[in-house]
């Protein structure tokens, strides 16, 4: 009996000596955040949905049906008419999402952008609209601004549509848009046929329309 117990003890003892303690290992990270720090090989077109979402957000968080209602009256009619031209997939005829821009797509986007800018200028730059209620043109708009006065308003739009101050943009930009403003504003004054927009509204609507189609807004 003593012999058996001794053998069992020896056996157990020898086994326990060979076991090694588990080495601590670092925990597997629950979520790895991969940052794309490489050079972007190509500038890409922003997805059409991104465009439209950005447009709707800029102009007051509108829903698509509200846009249809507000931008109607000769400027924009139904989304259905523009699905393909806007680069959106049209599952009624099996047209996939457009991966590249084309002149027609730019024209359709420009049509929508112009409609929203014109409506915003009509609303914001009306004398009765207080500054706090202005959605896009949230600045005092002097009808005949100096370059410095224009630059302040332009900076507001630049921050809205391109996401950074105009002072950080290439220096010629403000001058270019100032010339555009002056041209449209002056021609609106001299034309007899137009009555829908005041010269100041037309000038800023043109600047807005150009900025939302700017290559920096359409490519990333």
């Amino acid at each position: 009996m003593k012999v058996v117990a001794l053998v069992a003890l020896v056996a157990c003892g020898s086994g326990s000596d060979s076991i090694e303690a588990t080495k601590p290992t670092p925990l597997v990270p629950r979520r790895e955040v991969v940052l794309d720090t490489g050079t972007q090989p190509h500038r890409r077109m922003v997805q059409p949905e991104q465009f439209l979402r950005a447009y709707l957000t800029w102009f007051g968080g509108l829903s698509p049906s509200e846009v249809q209602k507000q931008a109607g009256r000769g400027l924009f009619d139904q989304w259905n008419d523009y699905i393909g031209a806007l680069g959106l997939p049209d599952y009624r005829i099996d047209v996939p999402r457009a991966g590249q821009s084309n002149p027609l797509m730019l024209a359709a986007i420009a049509r929508l952008g112009e409609a929203l800018c014109v409506r915003a200028s009509e609303h914001d730059l009306a004398k009765s609209t207080p500054l706090a209620d202005r959605q896009i043109f949230a600045f005092d708009a002097n009808p005949s601004p100096t370059l410095d006065e224009f630059a302040k308003g332009f900076d507001t739009l630049h921050r809205t549509f391109l996401g950074y101050p105009a002072a950080l943009a290439p220096p010629a930009r403000v001058g270019r848009f100032y010339a555009l403003y002056q041209k449209v504003q002056t021609e609106t004054q001299t034309r007899t046929s137009r009555s829908s927009l005041a010269p100041v509204q037309a000038g800023w609507a043109a600047v807005c329309t150009a900025l939302i189609q700017h290559p920096e807004a359409q490519l990333y």
Partner: protein
């Protein structure tokens, strides 16, 4: 390679005055009703007859006995021609000496999506993606980049895929012609044409400035190029020329009231765009051919409407002067290719229709092709493709890549630049 060199030598030096129309007969057509006629019960073939088709409106249907009171059609044989046509050929009968028919095209698919892609690109879909550009895009890239609208695609399966293509050839894909004009129309009540020209000029200047500062200037340059085109596209006179109402008025030869009017709109748009020399390729799609049940009774009429519209297109092109070449009609430099995704089963199914079948035909109307003839064949009992010739990879039936490669080869374009498969079939070229 030798075949390509021969084709290259045969191609005239200037191909930048040519125009192209591609038509997709969507749904899968019944080739036994037009290109590969069958009027006998043989093997699994159940021909079109008074029992399964509305034959009243079919102008070239001449009844012959099939079985008891059931009658089938007499094969249409134009005088002095080797062509054997089905009764749904419509007004193309009058132009039999100008058409080229390719029969027995091996599709290896009965999926609408895959067959459509295969017919238009020469490649099957790969993992759900389209791996190659479509024929209209290839031609627009080669011959149309100086046009205002190199490739207008109204519901046609157009695909811009691959690095060899010029960005300017990106197809303008829309569901209807009206989408184009609506996108281009502008109200003059707020900003006017002069204002928009000024906006486009500012954007082009901004783009140029950015492109010179950017490490990756290509996409910016592409965008700038498109911005520069905008004023031309937005001209009110230009836009109004392409509305359905204007086209309908200008081209009463096309039947705008037939079905959804897509064939008439597409054809009229093509003529107007070519006449103004603003597009190189216009492609459109015409549906109504996927007839699995008793709607097959209308199939022959749908085909007849399609071929009537193609014939009307050719006749209008005959009357229209070429925009850049003197003493030349547009039809002399316009090339029309009509495709479908596959054909329909030779047998009638239990619910009176025909299902999908991996055989196909194609129609070409082009001075670069041998005309008034059909090429390729199917077997008598199953209407499946039979070997056409010995290709580089052996004896086999003609396939969509060969058809598309031959279209490219007819204009001196090396298909290998864009296509993995396919051979120029020299026998088809004039």
């Amino acid at each position: 390679m030798l075949a390509f060199r021969r084709a290259l030598l045969a191609a005239p030096s200037s191909t930048h005055d040519d125009f192209f129309v591609f038509v997709h007969a969507a749904g899968g057509w019944d080739v036994t009703l037009w290109s590969d006629p069958r009027n006998e019960r043989k093997g699994i073939v159940e021909p079109a007859s008074t029992a399964n088709s509305e034959v009243g409106p079919i102008r070239h249907w001449k009844s012959v006995p099939l079985d008891g009171r059931v009658k089938t059609f007499e094969v249409v044989t134009p005088p002095g021609s080797s062509l054997r046509l089905g009764p749904a050929i419509g007004d193309l009968f009058d132009l039999h000496d100008r058409i080229t028919i390719l029969n027995g095209i091996a599709m290896n698919t009965v999926s609408h999506d895959d067959g459509t892609v295969f017919s238009a690109t020469g490649r099957h879909k790969s993992g759900g993606s389209v791996p190659a550009p479509s024929i209209d895009v290839m031609l627009a890239s080669e011959l149309g980049t100086t046009q205002l609208m190199p490739d207008v695609s109204v519901g046609f399966p157009s695909y811009f895929v691959g690095p060899a293509l010029d960005q300017r050839a990106i197809p303008l894909r829309v569901s209807t012609v009206d989408t184009i004009t609506k996108s281009l129309e502008r109200s003059q009540a707020f900003l006017d044409t002069a204002d928009r020209d000024a906006i486009s000029a500012v954007l082009a200047e901004e783009g140029d400035a950015l492109a010179t500062r950017s490490g990756a200037s290509d996409p910016i340059a592409q965008l700038v190029g498109q911005q520069r085109e905008m004023p031309k596209l937005l001209q009110p006179e230009f836009v109004s020329a392409f509305t359905t109402r204007t086209l309908q008025k200008a081209y009463p030869q096309f039947k705008f009231g037939v079905r959804d009017g897509h064939a008439a709109q597409g054809a009229a748009f093509a003529v107007e765009a070519f006449r103004r020399n603003v597009a190189r390729c216009v492609s459109y799609s015409v549906g109504g051919l996927d007839t699995h049940n008793t709607n097959y009774r209308e199939h022959a009429k749908t085909l007849q409407d399609l071929f009537d519209s193609i014939a009307a297109l050719v006749k209008v092109l005959d009357e229209t002067p070429h925009p850049t070449l003197s003493a030349t009609r547009l039809s002399e430099r316009t090339h029309i290719v009509v495709i479908s995704e596959f054909c329909r089963t030779p047998m009638i199914n239990l619910i009176g229709g025909r299902d999908h079948y991996p055989n196909n035909s194609a129609l070409v109307i082009s001075p670069r092709f041998k005309r008034g003839r059909s090429f390729g064949a199917t077997d008598a009992e199953q209407v499946l493709p039979t070997p056409f010739k010995t290709f580089a990879d052996g004896s086999r039936a003609i396939a969509p890549p060969d058809v598309l490669a031959t279209v490219l080869g007819a204009f001196g374009i090396d298909p290998r630049k864009y296509m993995r498969d396919g051979e120029i079939v020299r026998e088809l070229l004039a």
